[in-house]
Symmetry: C2
């Protein structure tokens, strides 16, 4: 099978534009951004700051399974990218508060679309997982094999 059959184009959303230049992360703005806010904690952090600003310790309590190390690092990265601002209060001991910048606010809209999708489709995903896991433990299912490559 030297040639892969030309796949039928679907009337999809237009990812083709930015993919044309390839997925090379160095050249691709979208990958650059997605690699950053698509890391383990950033999106969650942004939603945690959506309703109101919070202090370091408050974020630490609110995200039960993050480590201090990653909390600090994620906040620094978001601050560097201009999504979050850091405010130090000269109390003793000093308090630090984090807020979404206007840029950070602007990402909430697409982010909430994704969160909404996750919430709506979680049952579908759980069902799919159950099917998949059941199929793995049972006999291998040959019905998945196609009749012809074209």
């Amino acid at each position: 099978m030297p040639e892969h059959p030309p796949a039928p184009a679907r009337p999809g959303l237009d990812f083709a534009a930015w993919q044309a230049a390839g997925f090379d992360p160095a050249r691709c703005p979208v990958r650059n951004v997605l690699d950053r806010i698509g890391d383990k904690w950033s999106m969650l952090m942004l939603t945690a700051l959506a309703a109101r600003h919070r202090r370091f310790g408050e974020l630490f309590r609110v995200m039960p399974d993050i480590s201090k190390r990653m909390l600090t690092q994620t906040l620094r990265d978001l601050e560097r990218d201009g999504l979050v601002t850091r405010h130090v209060f000269p109390t003793k001991p000093p308090g630090v508060e984090y807020r979404l910048s206007p840029l950070g606010q602007s990402v909430l809209e697409p982010l909430s679309a994704l969160v909404g999708w996750a919430d709506r489709h979680f049952p579908d995903i759980e069902a799919a997982r159950a099917r998949f896991d059941a199929a793995q433990t049972g006999q291998p299912d040959t019905s998945l094999i196609e009749q012809d490559a074209a």
Copy 2:
């Protein structure tokens, strides 16, 4: 500073609903899903399959910096979650094609919103990074210190 000041509510999008139950990933559908598709390669993979289905080797070429190991693993996870389907063609050697399921298609809409945001705001982010890095190398900026915590 024993009490943190009550932060002003902002007329934000409503993340509060699912956050009310806490961020505990075991109990929270949104975290469950976000932890999965928010991993290093899933979102990129979904966009790579948006326009058309692709074969394993094709995906490997199209994503220049993924390893075979993670390509396999990410596809398996997406398949398990019902976002992607796997089709084996009994040629020699066998070919395997990956496609978005209807569920997978449905995530393209919120995903494209995020991609669009990334594309539009990349200049802002680069500018913020430049400012941040410049500030780090220069003298520490005391203007960031607030006058009063309340």
